[in-house]
């Protein structure tokens, strides 16, 4: 084994790169060969190049008003093609089921009358908003963008940890990670086809345009940001920039007679679709928090009257409530009549007396999560909590059983990660992103791999000292398709192809037949040379000076 991977400890967790015998898994062979040719000095150079790239480009996230770089580790997370097909299918299936669920509970609520889930479960969710009952905005889509958090357990099986269908963030790092890796580590990309991620903004823009209110032919799409101090501000600018749309703040918008306008130098301009990155509670001071300075007064009215489409829709939080999560496999069976492709992590519902008693007994060995939290907020990891923390937790769970769920501590899978000079196993999760355009659910190949940098740490959140890794989904090997060349009809997705070309360094391209030149060779115009006689005369004027030896 190479220098940088010598003494690599394989622990009880599943390692994505090295199997239990200590050999490299097939999907990681190219990465391994690039790594094994590097010394720890080389790795440090690459790591510094990645860090500089991010500092210069201002790829940051904000914590408490301070901009911090989001560390990108140089070892990618690689997903083989057959495994990706399962993940892709499983994520899309979940989004379709949750979409059906939201549409149902904000109209007839058959799911309750058919007894699949208790009605009280929905109405007691803090994110269930009656204000949007009965609305079918635009093309009826509510989850335009979803992020489904996946983990791999020690047995090697992929499980869903949670769904995010409100304002999932992180997709910008998927794109910037790829760009940075291509610059810093081109040799690792050699000799394999990695599926591009650059097509995301086009997919998102298409989905947003399709969601426009009926009758609008050329919809104006905007991205609504809480502002420059938001932790995901970088992402908001990147999405607006790559989709070529305006990035607005609440104060840039104005509602008049159920329509939304933005204030421009040319007066008020109509807005049809708002990709909002502001939470429900802050969207409209008339309907929600009246102290919100981020929202737009009258926005909910405009949504109700069909003057504007919000993406994602208001009230989606009821679908990613962690107690509803425990019913998602049932929802998949109920709405889609399919078996769930990716199972959940085992979860205790604490409203059930027997389950609660068991959990309270074993609380020191479990993970307890608030049902409406996101971003790792409020999670208590039993084995690492103090006695006082556990006592406090027991009290709060008894007080509000609806507010909590419990899960076993799962040893997330690991990927080698550069810690100082050595590659060490660090725990990772994966957040694939799905875009629903109303006709189909597209899953971005890859997603955000977050890595917990402290040794043994299982919470991968960026606000808890986490970093990220580029996520590579390998293309199926070419011999699987009938011909080695893709047919012309395969080229429908232009952006994907362009990105693919840029990801394959020309040096390592398989030799193709030489294409004859089709351009005319016109010589480049240069400044006319000095007439020789003139040069000599000028030169003569210099003869008083000592001549240099070569003349």
């Amino acid at each position: 084994m190479a220098d940088v991977l010598s003494n690599y400890p394989v622990g009880e967790a599943f390692d994505e790169m090295i199997d239990v015998e200590g050999s490299v898994r097939p999907s990681y062979r190219a990465v391994y060969s690039a790594l094994s040719r590097s010394t720890s000095h080389d790795l440090r150079v690459i790591a510094e190049s990645l860090a500089n790239n991010y500092t210069q480009a201002g790829v940051t996230f904000d914590v408490g008003g301070v901009e911090r770089p989001f560390p990108l580790d140089l070892v990618p997370r690689v997903i083989a093609s057959p495994e990706w097909e399962i993940i892709e299918g499983g994520v899309a299936q979940r989004v379709r089921a949750l979409e059906a669920f939201l549409s149902d509970i904000y109209s007839g609520a058959r799911v309750i009358s058919d007894g699949v889930i208790p009605g009280q479960l929905v109405t007691s969710s803090t994110h269930f908003h009656r204000a949007v009952w009965g609305i079918q905005a635009g093309n009826g889509v509510r989850i335009h963008v979803a992020g489904v958090d996946l983990i791999r357990n020690p047995a090697g099986d992929v499980r869903v940890l949670e769904d995010n269908v409100r304002v999932p963030s992180g997709v910008s790092y998927v794109m910037t990670n790829r760009n940075a890796m291509i610059t810093a580590m081109p040799e690792a990309f050699a000799n394999q086809r990695i599926r591009p991620v650059a097509g995301y903004p086009t997919r998102l823009l298409t989905a947003l345009r399709k969601a426009a209110p009926p009758g609008v032919e050329e919809p104006t799409v905007v991205v609504l940001t809480p502002g420059v101090y938001n932790s995901a501000y970088f992402e908001h600018t990147l999405l607006a920039r790559t989709m070529g749309v305006e990035l607005v703040e609440g104060r840039d918008l104005e509602c008049r007679r159920g329509k939304v306008f933005m204030r421009t130098t040319a007066g008020l301009q109509r807005v049809d679709v708002i990709y909002r990155r502001v939470d429900d509670e802050f969207l409209d001071p008339v309907h929600f928090r009246s102290d919100s300075m981020l929202g737009v007064p009258g926005l909910v009215n405009a949504v109700r009257t069909g003057g504007v489409t919000l993406a994602n829709a208001i009230g989606n939080g009821v679908a990613d409530d962690k107690l509803i999560y425990t019913y998602v496999p049932d929802l998949i069976k109920y709405y889609l009549r399919e078996e769930p492709i990716i199972p959940n992590v085992d979860t205790w519902r604490l409203e059930d007396d027997q389950a609660r008693e068991e959990v309270l007994d074993r609380v020191q060995e479990l993970v307890i999560k608030p049902v409406d939290g996101s971003g790792g907020k409020g999670i208590v990891i039993g084995p690492r909590a103090t006695k006082a923390e556990l006592d406090e937790l027991r009290r709060r769970v008894k007080e509000d059983p609806r507010g909590w769920i419990a899960q076993p501590v799962v040893q997330l899978s690991t990927v080698p990660t550069l810690i100082e000079d050595h590659l060490q196993p660090r725990h990772v999760d994966l957040r694939p992103f799905a875009v629903n355009n109303g006709e189909d659910v597209w899953v971005l190949p890859g997603g955000l791999t977050r890595v917990a940098l402290p040794e043994g740490e299982l919470v991968v959140n960026s606000s808890q000292g986490g970093g990220s890794k580029d996520t590579w989904v390998l293309s199926p090997p070419p011999h699987r398709s009938p011909s080695s060349h893709r047919s012309a009809t395969d080229h429908s997705d232009d952006t994907d192809d362009q990105a693919k070309a840029s990801e394959m360094p020309p040096l390592h391209r398989p030799a193709e037949t030489e294409v004859p030149l089709t351009v005319a060779k016109v010589p480049v115009t240069v400044m006319p040379k000095m007439v020789e006689a003139q040069r000599q005369q000028q030169d003569q004027q210099q003869q008083a000076n000592p001549r240099s030896p070569e003349c």
Partner: protein
């Protein structure tokens, strides 16, 4: 374009230009102060600070001067502050600024000095500040689409340049004697061009003429006023519905141009401080006019009447 973004673009232009011009002003006067005897140091520093509207320091020294105009992040007149403010605005307008230009502004911000420096360190810093501004100007000229964003940025830059040249010109008369003009011309990078234009035979009169009304010299006051008016007119053309919004600012700019263009140069010279103060007043007026017409489009909260209209 969004009013808020337009405002950010305007101020990016102003702040980058201000950083460069402050560097030029400081460089010009550091040399004069160091060449002169130490007895004049406090006077010279106080006059220079007064010219930049700084009056909260009594008996300023060279160190104060470098701090207040150079490296102190909390002084709104410092080069540090200008670059930080430019970067802050660029971050707010991130989605409309080309990546290369953003990286230029962001890198500048990352490289800002973290420790105080003396006169010997000052030249490295001031040269750096001018180079960063030149790089910003070059990248923006080279790759930015000439849309409203560009026009507002150019407008800010041109107004700031006119304003700062007027301060530099006024600084020529801070101490008596005619030796100041060559230094001021050098500060503008226009000394050689001036000598070529006036064949080396010149007086204060010609130097003032060159810096104030010679529109061919891109750092002259006249050039800044014409360029600002030009940007305003293009914005008006691009937005026919709001074309009239440009009128108050255009009127102020035109009146000032006429005043300078048809002024008797000797009178102008004898009244130099007053005339330069007029230039600064007008650039302030134009800034207010542009803000009112294009940036402050916000109306009182409409939600109290929402649904009743």
């Amino acid at each position: 374009m969004l009013s808020r973004i337009a405002e950010s673009m305007f101020w990016i232009g102003r702040y980058v230009e201000r950083a460069e011009d402050t560097a030029r002003l400081l460089q010009t006067h550091l040399r004069l102060i160091i060449e002169e005897t130490a007895a004049h140091e406090v006077d010279a520093c106080r006059n220079l600070l007064a010219l930049m509207s700084v009056d909260h320091v009594t008996d300023p020294t060279l160190t104060d001067l470098l701090r207040i105009l150079g490296y102190d992040p909390s002084e709104p007149t410092s080069i540090y502050f200008s670059f930080a403010a430019a970067r802050d605005n660029a971050r707010r307008a991130r989605e409309v600024i080309p990546l290369d230009l953003w990286e230029c502004v962001n890198t500048t911000w990352h490289q800002l000095p973290t420790a105080p420096f003396g006169p010997s360190g000052a030249h490295v810093f001031l040269n750096w500040a001018r180079e960063r501004s030149a790089m910003f100007a070059g990248i923006s000229r080279g790759i930015m689409v000439r849309d409203d964003g560009w026009q507002f940025m150019s407008m800010g830059r041109s107004l700031e340049q006119a304003d700062m040249t007027s301060r530099l010109v006024a600084s020529a008369s801070l101490t008596h004697g005619s030796t100041q003009w060559p230094a001021v011309l050098r500060g503008c990078g226009g000394h050689d061009a001036f000598l070529r234009t006036y064949r080396g035979l010149y007086t204060d009169r010609e130097a003032a003429e060159f810096l104030i009304v010679d529109a061919r010299f891109p750092r002259s006051i006249m050039h800044g006023l014409i360029a600002a008016a030009d940007s305003l007119q293009r914005v008006a053309q691009n937005n026919p519905l709001t074309a009239r919004h440009a009128e108050p600012a255009l009127r102020s700019l035109g009146q000032l141009r006429a005043r300078l263009e048809y002024a008797d140069l000797d009178e102008l010279l004898s009244n130099l401080n007053h005339e330069m103060a007029v230039v600064q007043d007008v650039t302030a007026q134009v800034t207010i006019a542009v803000s009112t017409s294009y940036f402050a489009a916000e109306e009182p909260p409409a939600w109290t009447t929402e649904g009743t209209r």
